[in-house]
């Protein structure tokens, strides 16, 4: 170790000591300078950035969901509004002990076992900050009891807010749709933090979905100072939300509700159109889900009940239900015949059917000699068989389309199945077969390839009644519809036939019980199980094989104000099932009190109004399902 030739003395060690001390001192000074520089860098150069980080630590911005715009009817009556609400959500990411938290919530909020099961299932699939609704519409006492326990329940987010309310419940389900919590895909798409704000809902179906941008509004914000543990120290300020704009519809709220209720326990659809504008006054498909339950997050059991019902409450039958229109097309066919030179006074003898080649096409009766008006009144097939055979169906199909059959209307995003008005070209394209006279005969009585939805039937009768090419719409507009290219006297003959249907024909039992106001209409019966004798679809067979009953009508006869189409599924016949419904809601339009009185009597016989019946159905379904696991609902509930 010793370096030769280097003498170590006390003095040389002292010199080394001094030198090395200065070295260390210098190094220490350097570290000091580095520290000062580093600090200056952080606090001066990066000051803005760290100030922002410090603020985002300190200040917690909570969005206040905007109040949704009301949906109102033509008279300003709310079809959808908002009610003040105490609600609770779970934020999955912040919950530490899922089972424990749910148990506590169940106790505090006194939740029923099936609700608790729903919540558990929902929490299993839940991720991140997406709120899972626990309960809405809490009483103030429950809300307060929960708020007190919050420090022990991380992830539980109670909130005072507003929730969507549909005062007439199921009566507007298929018309308005419903609202719900945004799902993960919707959030991923826009990354809008509002979508994962507890209590915020977006339109999921129907008009609620289509008019989302208008109805949504702008969120408010609440700024609070919070500690690292999330405890709120003080409120720093609140910015109020801007409620969404109201949406006014052509719907008549009272009629809408009346129609829905009048459908009773039947399955079917009804559409009422304003003959002056084409505005839809009522748009009903029953039975229907209650949009209030969908908007609160429907329970699995309730969803199972809806999806297992053979009357398909989840299907909007007014636009997506397709039915052979049957004889309801006869007035339209009459106009087509007149258009092509048929003399309305020409009589055709009805011996109870029509012979085409070696086949005999049945009529409903043996009408003897009938002219056009009488053929409509009696719904004589033979007359129309003969006319169709003579003209060919292609000419009638053109008029059918002009009347709105087979048309897909532009109607606020309402999903439609527009059916078929066949002709020879269509048949060739579709089946590579030539049109036959037999096809014409079937088509002219609304059977065979012909298939329509109830909305189209309502449009057809509205155009027939008004003589103008009305377009159905839900949002009021002032456009005047163009006149149809048919002579008024031709239309008058169809009107007269339809008037006689009600005054003395197939729907004679459905005359309006009003002084001086008469209804014109046309019944229709559509076979469910193939063509042939009525007995195959008659009262003696199971419900789902029975014939559909249809009815199209307008009133008053002389000066049409309202046109409507009613389809009662498996109702056995138009005059028996559909016409009485139309009679009552037409009565409502002119004398609401009278109509309500007769409805009250009927509802008493059906076991209550819609809400009461749905509640008792659910109770019995729950009883049956006890001990059995219901299938989980898919995310998007209704079609």
């Amino acid at each position: 170790m010793i370096r030769p030739g280097k003498l170590i003395t006390r003095n040389s060690l002292n010199i080394t000591f001094n030198r090395r001390t200065m070295l260390i001192g210098g190094a220490q000074g350097l570290v000091g300078a580095i520290l000062a520089a580093r600090m200056a860098y952080i606090s001066v150069v990066e000051n803005e950035r760290y100030k922002m980080l410090s603020e985002s630590n300190r200040v917690n911005l909570t969005l206040i969901p905007p109040r949704r715009g009301w949906i109102i009817d033509r008279n300003g009556k709310p079809l959808a509004n908002n009610k003040a609400d105490f609600r609770v959500d779970l934020i999955p990411q912040r919950v530490r002990d899922v089972d424990g938290t749910i148990d506590q919530l169940a106790t505090i909020l006194k939740m029923t076992p099936d609700k608790v099961d729903d919540l558990r299932a929902a929490m299993k699939d839940a991720r991140g900050l997406q709120p899972v609704p626990v309960a809405a519409g809490l009483s103030y006492e429950d809300f307060a009891a929960l708020s007190v326990r919050l420090p022990d329940l991380p992830g539980v987010a109670p909130q005072r807010g507003f929730s969507r309310q549909y005062p007439t419940g199921a009566a507007v389900g298929h018309l308005l749709g419903y609202v719900g919590i945004a799902n993960a895909e919707e959030y991923e798409e826009s990354k809008n933090p509002l979508l994962i704000t507890p209590g915020f809902k977006i339109g999921k179906d129907g008009l609620e979905k289509y008019f989302e941008p208008q109805l949504q509004g702008k969120p408010g914000a609440r700024k609070v100072e919070v500690t690292a543990r999330g405890k709120i120290v003080r409120e720093l300020g609140v910015q109020e939300d801007v409620p969404g704009k109201p949406l006014k519809l052509t719907i008549d709220g009272g009629l809408q509700e009346f129609v829905a209720r009048r459908m009773g326990r039947e399955s079917g659809a009804a559409v009422v159109i304003d003959c002056q504008t084409g505005g839809i006054l009522a748009f009903s498909s029953m039975p229907c889900f209650d949009p209030n339950s969908f908007s609160d997050g429907i329970g699995r059991l309730e969803y199972a009940m809806l999806s297992q019902d053979e009357r398909v409450p989840l299907l909007n039958k007014a636009t997506r239900g397709l039915y052979p229109p049957g004889s309801t097309l006869k007035p339209m066919a009459a106009v087509a015949c007149l258009q092509h030179g048929v003399d309305p006074e020409e009589t055709i003898n009805c011996p109870g059917g029509y012979r085409l080649g070696n086949r005999f096409y049945q009529c409903l009766g043996r009408h003897g000699p009938v002219n056009m008006v009488r053929a409509i009144e009696k719904s004589c097939n033979t007359y129309f068989y003969a006319q169709a055979h003579r003209l060919g169906y292609d000419k009638i199909a053109m008029v059918a389309r002009e009347m709105g059959l087979g048309e897909d209307f532009n109607l606020a995003g309402l999903n439609q199945r527009y059916g078929t008005i066949p002709d020879s070209e269509w048949k060739m394209r579709k089946f590579k077969q030539a049109w036959t006279a037999s096809d014409s005969l079937n088509a002219v009585i609304g059977q065979g390839y012909v298939i329509c939805n109830p909305l189209q039937l309502a449009v057809m009768v509205a155009r027939l009644a008004s003589g103008r090419k009305l377009y159905p719409h839900l949002i009021p507009d002032n456009r005047v519809a163009p006149t149809l290219p048919y002579a008024p006297e031709h239309l008058a003959i169809a009107h007269q036939g339809m008037a006689q249907v009600v005054s003395q024909g197939t729907a004679a039992r459905s005359k309006l019980p009003l002084e001086g106001i008469a209804m014109a209409g046309k019944t229709g019966t559509a076979q469910v199980r193939g063509l042939g004798s009525g007995s195959r679809g008659g009262a003696g067979v199971p419900w789902k094989y029975r014939d559909h009953g249809l009815f199209v009508c307008f009133a008053p006869v002389e000066q049409p104000l309202y046109a409507a189409a009613v389809v009662i599924e498996h109702g056995l016949g138009g005059s028996r099932a559909a016409a009485p419904v139309a009679k009552d809601f037409m009565t409502y339009m002119f004398d609401p009190q009278k109509a309500m009185d007769s409805l009250a009597a009927m509802e008493a016989g059906w076991g209550g109004n819609i809400q009461e019946r749905m509640a008792s159905e659910f109770a019995s379904f729950r009883a049956r399902a006890e001990g059995r696991v219901a299938e989980p609902p898919p995310q998007e509930a209704a079609d």
Binding site: L35, A40, S43, N47, Y50
Partner: protein, 373 residues
């Protein structure tokens, strides 16, 4: 000096007393704010402790150099044994233990080891014949004196203190004239040893701290949270700070350990760069004082001990401040006079007391002219 001031009072080392009072006083002010504007639980006790330990330092100051030299090796031996006992107690109980419960105080032997290793090695070099200052026999005994407590503290495990013990000891060796190339060689060997130490000697939580120091954003809610929040506190303070009692990072609990290891960040948030520079300047003055003391010391023991003790104090200051500014990993080392905590203040005050003693000895002995004012 004013004539009416009694000589013993006038002779007190007022310069260093003023510096420590200034820093510790500032510490009391910061801890008052850290408690949300309250004397309890920290500020009051901090002030009380400082007064007690300052008195202790002034008592240590009165020890003669011979007394200190006489007591060095026995004290070293006693605390080495205590360290071993702590280690054994920890092994018996399971888990790590760093202190011995004496009823009224928790005695942490590793704290005493920091000045004791310095004193023991200084004493050793003083006893070593001058001619052997650069020989093998000048190297291995200090290595043993450092190695034994280093190993015992390291396995506690207390990374910060073990490095502090080693740094103090090695500094004395350096100042004693051990050839420079040995330090360079050891430095290179140490660099090679780091990966080994990292993978085999450090516990997992220590490894994580190092990893997260290298990339704090990788774990913003875990260990990296400390560093991130500390930088946010310092950075958001700006030049003049947010104002006294206005620090949101510390008052809303975003800054962890805001009254102990991260007290500098608590201070910087409210006092800004100005407060930070004040603290840095006061520490610089303190270290300048102690460096001057060791340079002026007449005896070799005084010089070496003074230099080593200076390094021990520096080590605390530098590592802590590098840590809170995100330049060093999170090792539990408090900031002298500012951090709340008794044992570290005691260690620093023992060092200050010993340095005061060296200065007093210099003045009394009047030995070899003062190098610097």
């Amino acid at each position: 000096m004013l004539a009416f001031v009694p000589r013993p009072v006038a002779e007190l080392p007022w310069q260093i007393i003023f510096i420590t009072v200034a820093i510790a006083g500032f510490g009391v002010i910061v801890l008052y704010s850290a408690a949300g504007g309250s004397v309890s639980p920290w500020a009051g006790i901090h002030a009380l402790r400082f007064v007690v330990f300052l008195a202790m330092a002034l008592v240590i100051r009165l020890f003669s150099e011979n007394f200190v030299k006489w007591g060095t090796f026995p004290a070293y031996a006693v605390f080495a044994v205590l360290l071993l006992l702590v280690e054994l107690a920890g092994a018996v109980k399971g888990g790590s233990q760093r202190w011995i419960e004496l009823g009224f105080i928790r005695l942490q032997p590793s704290e005493f080891m920091k000045p004791l290793v310095v004193l023991a090695i200084a004493r050793f070099y003083e006893m070593l014949p001058i001619g052997q200052a650069r020989s093998w026999s000048a190297i291995w005994p200090p290595l043993v004196l450092i190695g034994v407590p280093w190993f015992l503290v390291m396995t506690q495990p207390d990374l910060g203190t073990s490095i502090a013990v080693m740094t103090g000891g090695v500094t004395v060796m350096f100042l004693a004239g051990v050839p420079l190339r040995l330090f360079i060689g050891a430095g290179l060997a140490g660099a090679a040893f780091v990966p080994f130490a990292f993978f085999f000697l450090l516990k997992e939580y220590q490894q994580n701290r190092v990893l997260i120091f290298l990339d704090p954003e990788s774990d913003p809610l875990g260990t990296g949270y400390h560093i991130s929040q500390s930088k946010i506190a310092i950075g958001s303070g700006g030049i003049g700070g947010k104002g006294y009692l206005q620090g949101s990072q510390s008052h809303l609990d975003y800054l962890p350990e805001g009254h102990t290891d991260f007290v500098f960040a608590t201070m910087a948030e409210e006092w800004g760069l100005i407060g930070g520079l004040f603290v840095i300047v006061m520490f610089a003055l303190l270290l300048r004082w102690s460096t001057v003391v060791s340079l002026n010391a007449p005896s070799r023991f005084g010089k070496l001990a003074g230099g080593g003790l200076t390094m021990v104090i520096f080590f605390y200051i530098a590592i802590n401040m590098l840590m809170v500014m995100g330049l060093a990993p999170v090792v539990g080392i408090p900031l002298p006079f500012l951090s709340y905590g008794g044992s570290s203040m005691m260690t620093i005050m023992i060092c200050i007391g010993l340095l005061m003693g060296i200065e007093r000895n210099t003045r009394q002995g009047g030995g070899g002219g003062r190098l610097l004012p």
